[in-house]
C-alpha cells in the first residue's frame, strides 16, 4: 500500500437479503483514494456505486444489507471490523457523506441552522452559542448568502441548490478527512451544478480533503475527478487517471459509454453508437465477464471472468481483450 493512500477498499462484497433470497450487489471491489485527491466512481443505475459508498460509511440498511467480505482501510484501520459505536465516531469526524436528494436528507420540521448546529454539538465539544456561531460560519463558507437569516429557515424555504449547500455544510461540520459525495448534483439544474462542483473543488483545496465523487455523468467525472473507477454490475471494470480514462479507455464498456453520449461537438440528428441490450439483473448475472452479452469484442474466452489487472502504470482493466482496444485507438 502506497504511503499516500488515504482510504483503501479491498475485495469489498456487499449482499442484500430479502424475501426471495440473497443477492450480491457489490462483488470484489478494490479502490484506492489518495490523500487530497478526488476519486470519481461512475456507472449506470444498479451498478453498485452507491452501495459501495454506504458500505464504506457503515450505513447499509439493516438487517437487509451486510458486508460479506473485504476491508475498508482508513489510515491503516479496518472500518468493517470496528464495533458500531466506534464507527459512529469515525462517521462525521473523519469521514462523511453528502446525498443526492437534500429534501429527504434534511429534516423538514427543523430549521436548517439547527440541524447543522446539532451535528456540531453531537460530534464536537461545543456549547449551544458557540455551535450557532460555528454553523453560521459554515453556511457562509459553503456560499449561502445572508447565513444569519438562512440559519432560521426551514428546508422547504430554500432552493434545491441551497439545500445541497446546507448538506455539504453539515458534512463538513466536523472537518472530515474524507468526503463521499453521492450524486450531489443530480437533482439540481446545470448552472447550479456548476456552482456546487466549484464549491466542492474549492473546499477540497482549502481543507485538503480526499473526496469520493459518485455520479452516472461522465461529463461531471471529467470536470472533478483525478482518478476514476468505472463500475458495471457490482464490479470495477476499469480504473485509471482521469486523463487516461477519457483519452485511452481500455474496457469495452467504458469506451461504449463514452461513445454513446450526445455531445455538443457531434453533428445534430445523427444516430448515436449504442450499447445493445440492457444491464442484467443481479439475480441472473452471466457467467464470466458480466458485460460479455452486450459487448462487441466478446469471444468464447469471455465465459471466464477476467481479473482487474494493471495493464499500464496506474491503469487497471478487467477485460481479456484490452490489447485489441489498445491497438484500435479510441473509436
Amino acid at each position: 500500500m502506497a504511503s499516500d493512500v488515504k482510504l483503501l477498499v479491498e475485495g469489498l462484497a456487499t449482499e442484500f437479503t430479502g424475501d426471495d433470497g440473497t443477492v450480491r450487489v457489490v462483488d470484489g471491489v478494490n479502490l484506492e483514494l489518495r490523500a487530497g485527491a478526488t476519486l470519481g466512481l461512475v456507472g449506470e443505475s444498479g451498478c453498485g456505486k452507491s452501495v459501495t459508498a454506504l458500505s464504506i460509511m457503515g450505513l447499509l440498511p439493516k438487517p437487509a444489507g451486510r458486508v460479506a467480505a473485504g476491508r475498508v482501510v482508513l489510515d491503516g484501520r479496518d472500518l468493517i471490523a470496528l464495533p458500531p459505536e466506534a464507527m459512529h465516531t469515525i462517521r462525521g469526524r473523519r469521514i462523511s457523506m453528502v446525498f443526492q436528494e437534500p429534501m429527504t436528507a434534511l429534516n423538514p420540521v427543523h430549521r436548517v441552522g439547527e440541524q447543522l448546529a446539532e451535528t456540531l454539538r453531537l460530534h464536537t465539544d461545543v456549547g449551544r452559542g458557540e455551535a450557532r456561531g460555528r454553523a453560521v460560519e459554515l453556511l457562509a463558507e459553503v456560499g449561502i448568502p445572508a447565513p444569519e437569516r438562512r440559519f432560521d429557515e426551514y428546508p422547504h424555504q430554500l432552493s434545491g441548490g441551497m439545500r445541497q449547500r446546507v448538506l455539504i455544510a453539515i458534512a463538513l461540520a466536523c472537518s472530515p478527512d474524507v468526503l463521499i459525495a453521492d450524486e450531489p448534483t443530480t437533482a439540481v439544474d446545470v448552472t447550479i451544478q456548476a456552482q456546487i462542483l466549484e464549491l466542492i473543488d474549492r473546499l477540497q483545496a482549502q481543507r485538503g480533503m480526499s473526496v469520493i465523487f459518485i455520479t452516472h455523468d461522465l461529463g461531471v467525472i471529467a470536470e472533478i475527478a483525478d482518478e476514476v473507477a468505472v463500475m458495471y454490475c457490482g464490479k470495477v471494470v476499469e480504473r485509471a487517471s482521469v486523463d487516461v480514462l477519457f483519452s485511452r479507455p481500455l474496457h469495452p464498456y467504458t469506451r461504449a459509454l463514452l461513445e454513446s453520449m450526445p455531445r455538443l461537438q457531434r453533428r445534430s440528428k445523427t444516430r448515436l453508437p449504442t450499447i445493445q441490450g440492457m444491464v442484467p439483473s443481479p439475480r441472473s448475472l452471466p457467467k464470466g465477464c458480466r458485460f460479455a452479452n452486450r459487448c462487441s469484442f466478446a469471444t468464447p474466452e469471455c465465459g471466464v471472468e477476467p481479473p482487474l489487472a494493471e495493464v499500464a502504470a496506474g491503469h487497471w482493466v478487467a477485460c481479456h481483450h484490452w490489447r485489441r482496444l489498445a491497438e484500435d485507438g479510441v473509436g
Binding site: 449506470e44 443505475s45 448568502p145 432552493s159 434545491g160 441548490g161 441551497m162 439544474d189 446545470v190 448552472t191 447550479i192 451544478q193 456548476a194 456552482q195 462542483l197 466549484e198 452516472h216 455523468d217 461522465l218 461529463g219 461531471v220 467525472i221 471529467a222 470536470e223 475527478a225 482521469v242 486523463d243 477519457f246 483519452s247 461504449a256 459509454l257 463514452l258 454513446s260 453520449m261 450526445p262 455531445r263 455538443l264 461537438q265 457531434r266 453533428r267 445534430s268 440528428k269 445523427t270 444516430r271 448515436l272 453508437p273 449504442t274 450499447i275 440492457m278 444491464v279
Partner: protein, 338 residues
C-alpha cells in the same frame, strides 16, 4: 416555403397562486409569457432551459393539457385554442406527447397490449384482429419483444417503458410528437437507444418533434432549431449548430459553459472561462422587471432592469445571409457588444 405545421403566436400561460381558507388568489405564476414558435413537417424544434423556465408548460399547452391564458396555436393553419372536445379528440390523432415517466401516463393495470390498442379503440379503427396485428407491428417497431403485449408496464425497465410510451404515441401516425423530458430519467446507454429510435421514427413518418429537455447536449443532438427559455420567455432562437458554435444571449452562454464536458484535458481552460451564474433562478411569481435575466447577468447595464428586450432577428447583421442564422433571434439589448 409551405405553411408551417405548427405556429404558436404570443402564447401565454399564467397560473393563479391561491392561499388561505378562502383560496383567494394572492399572485400569478408567469409560467409562459408571449412565446412565438414555428415548426415545419418533419422538423425538430428543441426547447431547453432550467427548472421553471416554462418549457414543459409550453409542451402541455400545445395539446391543451393546459388551457392557454392568451395567444394562438395554429396547427395546419387552424387555431386549435378554441376547438371543442370532439374536435380536440380528433386532433389528438395528429398531435401526441411522451412524458418523462411513462408509468405516470400509462394505465398500469392494463396489459401493454391493451394500452397500445386503446388509441385504435378510441378512434374506432379496425377490427379486433386488425388491432392485434397493429399492436404486434408497433411492438416490433419500437424494439420490444412480441410477448410484451401480454405483460404489464411494471414488468419492464425504464427504457422499455419509454418504448411503450413511444409506441402508444405513434400508434395513429401523428404529425407532431411532443417529447417532454422523454429520455431524462434514462441511463446513458439506454438513452442513446431511445434517441436513435426517435430519429428513425421521425424519418420514417416525417414526424415533427418538439423536443423538451433540460440537457442542452441532448437537445442539440436531436434538434434542427433550438429555443432557449428562461423564466417563461424565449431568450434565444437559433439553429442547433449555431446555438453551440455562436451563442448570443448571455444566458445561453452561461448554460453552455456550465455543461460538464467529457474531456478532462480541456478542463482548466473551461474553468477559467466559465460563466458561473450567481444565485438561483428568481421566482416566476414575481419575475424581475425589464430583462428577466438581468439580476444574474454579468453584462447587465442599468437599463436592463427597466427595459424588457424583445426577440430581435440576428439575420440582418450577418454577412450575406449566412444559412445558420436563418430564424435566429435573441432577446438582449446588448448581444452585439458582448
Amino acid at each position: 416555403m409551405s405553411a408551417p405545421l405548427l405556429e404558436v403566436r404570443g402564447l401565454t400561460k399564467h397560473f393563479p397562486v391561491r392561499a388561505g381558507v378562502l383560496m383567494r388568489q394572492i399572485g400569478t405564476v408567469h409560467a409562459v409569457d408571449d412565446v412565438w414558435l414555428t415548426l415545419s413537417r418533419g422538423e425538430t424544434l428543441g426547447l431547453v432551459g432550467e427548472s421553471g423556465c416554462g418549457k414543459s408548460t409550453v409542451g402541455k399547452t400545445l395539446l391543451r393539457l393546459h388551457e392557454p391564458t392568451s395567444g394562438a396555436i395554429f396547427f395546419e393553419g387552424r387555431d386549435i385554442t378554441s376547438l371543442g372536445r370532439a374536435e380536440m379528440r380528433a386532433l389528438r390523432r395528429d398531435v401526441q406527447i411522451v412524458f418523462q415517466d411513462p408509468l405516470e401516463s400509462l394505465n398500469t393495470r392494463h396489459s401493454v397490449g391493451r394500452i397500445l390498442e386503446e388509441p385504435f379503440a378510441i378512434h374506432a379503427l379496425g377490427t379486433a384482429a386488425e388491432r392485434r396485428r397493429w399492436v404486434a407491428e408497433l411492438l416490433e417497431r419500437v424494439g420490444l419483444p412480441s410477448d410484451a403485449a401480454q405483460r404489464y408496464p411494471h414488468e419492464f425497465s425504464g427504457g422499455q417503458r419509454q418504448r411503450i410510451g413511444i409506441a402508444r404515441a405513434i400508434a395513429l401516425r401523428p404529425k407532431l410528437l411532443v417529447c417532454d423530458e422523454a429520455v431524462s430519467a434514462l441511463d446513458v446507454s439506454i438513452q442513446s437507444q431511445v434517441l436513435n429510435l426517435l430519429l428513425d421514427l421521425q424519418q420514417e413518418m416525417n414526424l415533427a418533434l418538439i423536443f423538451i429537455a433540460h440537457d442542452l447536449s441532448v437537445v442539440k443532438h436531436m434538434s434542427d432549431r433550438v429555443a432557449v427559455m428562461y423564466l417563461g420567455q424565449i431568450v434565444e432562437y437559433a439553429s442547433a449548430e449555431s446555438i453551440y458554435a455562436s451563442p448570443r444571449h448571455p444566458y445561453t452562454r452561461a448554460l453552455l459553459s456550465a455543461i460538464p464536458m467529457p474531456d478532462p484535458t480541456d478542463r482548466e481552460r473551461r474553468r477559467a472561462s466559465r460563466i458561473v451564474l450567481s444565485g438561483d433562478v428568481p421566482s416566476p411569481i414575481d419575475p424581475p422587471s425589464g430583462c428577466r435575466f438581468h439580476p444574474r447577468c454579468a453584462f447587465a447595464r442599468a437599463d436592463c432592469a427597466t427595459r424588457a428586450p424583445s426577440l430581435e432577428s440576428v439575420a440582418v447583421s450577418m454577412q450575406g445571409g449566412v444559412a445558420a442564422a436563418q430564424n435566429g433571434a435573441v432577446a438582449c439589448h446588448y448581444w452585439r457588444e458582448i
